[in-house]
Symmetry: C2
Subunit: 383 residues, 2 copies
């Protein structure tokens, strides 16, 4: 079978075709990136506009063959909601919230899992495993079920109880253990090795990033095939940020958005776990493991993201930066937004609001910059 994409190592010169069940680059252990053989024509934009409201409307930009069916629960095409109260508070012209809580399983993780489970089941996987800070586990539980496969999910005991409960609702087998997501990752890899389950950890297979890429494709479409000036993204594993960066590159190269358009990408992390912020400020090109990560924003409790180097490149190449906010600040923003805008943001979403406040204070984001904040999931899952 000839696929319309191949795999290219994000760090060395390795190449791989798309057959089977690729994981990471066998030469250097770093993530694969999907490279499409041809750019889809910009004429397709018109056909896409008429397609159904899921991320699979962009199928020519996704790792799926014309005769294949995705494992889908209707993920993607989430709304952009104007945030007038933030505009007023900070003196900005245009602030939008990309509300990812309106996805199946209540978070942005649905996108990556839909893509990964689609590709993995087509590649022969029949059982899955994942380490999770919370939402990815809920998403895997639902999507593995949808594909008719069992899933084992390794989560820290400190994960908010409702997230753990939702993993159970969809029939996933939950292993709650001591430690953080890195410890869970070791357990998940050991289980994958011993039991033959396929590990869909962040960036340890090539396709979750392609699912997350649709965040960028959607933003471009929702802004009339152009980009906002500023995007603030709560960054744990960072797949969504890397995915958007990749999406914008691909869209520019294919002539789908103006050649000069650029969205500055900003990472926000918690001061209790900020490896990307520390590396960015120290001018390093990779992250170092954060000791004793502690934050209520469980999705930000990722002390050693495998894609750390890619995240840093994305921030620097687009002219963004990384900001840390306290748990107090992110929780205050979260509560304020629920009662000021009617959006039940997750703590990570609250972090993006708090980061915008800081970026405006520093003069990095100005009145005229059209800004998108990410609410990556539903607040209720954390209560």
């Amino acid at each position: 079978m000839t696929y319309h994409w191949t795999l290219e190592c994000s760090s060395c010169d390795e190449r791989h075709d798309a057959s089977g069940l690729p994981t990471v680059c066998p030469a250097c252990g770093m993530p694969w990136l999907v490279r499409y053989r041809h750019h889809p024509s910009p004429d397709l934009r018109d056909a896409i506009a008429r397609r159904g409201p899921t991320m699979w409307r962009y199928r020519e930009w996704l790792p799926i063959q014309p005769d294949e069916e995705p494992v889908s629960l209707g993920e993607g095409m989430t709304p952009l909601v104007r945030a007038a109260s933030i505009e007023q508070d900070l003196g900005l012209d245009e602030v939008w919230i990309k509300d990812e809580s309106q996805n199946p399983t209540g978070s942005f993780k649905a996108r990556g899992m839909s893509a990964a489970i689609t590709r993995a089941t087509l590649g022969g996987a029949t059982a899955f495993t994942v380490p999770t800070a919370g939402n990815a586990g809920v998403a895997l539980s639902a999507y593995a079920t949808r594909a008719g496969c069992p899933a084992r999910i390794f989560a820290p005991r400190t994960t908010p109880p409702r997230l753990l409960e939702q993993m159970d609702v969809h029939g996933g087998e939950l292993i709650a253990q001591d430690g953080h997501i890195g410890d869970c990752g070791k357990a998940s890899r050991a289980y994958a090795r011993d039991a033959g389950a396929f590990d869909v950890s962040t960036l340890r297979e090539p396709y979750r990033i392609e699912g997350k890429k649709t965040l960028g494709l959607e933003l471009a479409e929702q802004f009339g095939w152009d980009l906002p000036e500023v995007i603030i993204y709560p960054t744990g594993g960072g797949t969504g940020l890397i995915g958007m960066w990749k999406a914008f590159d691909e869209l520019r190269a294919a002539g789908w958005i103006p050649a000069g358009s650029n969205a500055r990408l900003f990472s926000v992390q918690s001061t209790g776990c900020a490896p990307v912020v520390r590396a960015f400020e120290a001018d390093r090109d990779r992250t170092e493991a954060w000791e004793d990560p502690v934050t209520v924003a469980s999705g930000l409790r990722v002390p050693a993201p495998l894609g750390g180097g890619l995240i840093l490149r994305g921030l620097r190449e687009t002219g963004g930066c990384a900001v840390a906010v306290t748990d107090t600040a992110l929780e205050q923003s979260q509560k304020r937004l629920a009662a000021a805008e009617g959006i039940d943001m997750c703590p990570e979403g609250g972090a993006s609001v708090a980061a915008l406040t800081e970026l405006v204070r520093r003069g990095i984001v100005e009145r005229r910059h059209r800004t998108v904040l990410f609410n990556t999931g539903a607040g209720w899952l954390y209560r």
Copy 2:
């Protein structure tokens, strides 16, 4: 100001223009129905296909003037998700779930509230009140907040705790009291009278039904401007069923769907509160109050729906009927679907699955009938 719609009594000959804050027909106390002065041209279908993924893409079919902005959180354009496990279990060719849990505030109530709060704030309302079985209260809390207005919400003490909690998250003032939604309705009306708040109870103002009508507009668009043969709808107040019936009539009259297309509408209720089923089977043209309503599906705990007569007409005119299922059956279906399809259905959604089983058993729904089941909200809100 000339509006592109007027109000017509659903029961007598009264007419009213669209200005101010209409409630119910002053002559007979029955609900108003919105009547549009002109049918939008079918040519508009093409423009609509390119609009953003919210229910306001149908604005020419909705009570909003060209220069007005809706109070919106991105409601509508929820996915249709194929349910292969149900198809296999029941021997049907095509079963779809309209997954309304992927709305703001986690339920279909977002649609009606978006329309009602939009119209009411434009009409001069500055404070709101509503009686609720659960989800409508969460939606009002969020949409009133979005409009910058206070809301008081009257809910039975027996409402699932998470629904009550979500009302609080968005800043609504919750009054939990003894009794059922009918008792809450009395309290809400008294409060509206005394405090000057606008009561957005089901069918006690004309616009929630127009918001819910978008369920029908979306189904028609998602099926390529045609209709499925069978729609099963969990029926409490019944606004969505009446709204879809109205939508299909309007679309047929305007030539947007084939003249001969018909979706049979089926109501499902719980055996613990089944006023529509009882009236349908007794061949009555209105419902009588159900004594001691008891069901875990709180949205179905509506003993005396104001729109009972309209619901019965909708079922009969389209060739559908009403079915009661036990709480045991609806809860079993709910759990089965979460673990078989990856969809965390609410109990009311489970009822629609149980009803389909019964309708197939009776030979009323057959293999070839393309069927849509409604999942009206998220299961987690009930746990």
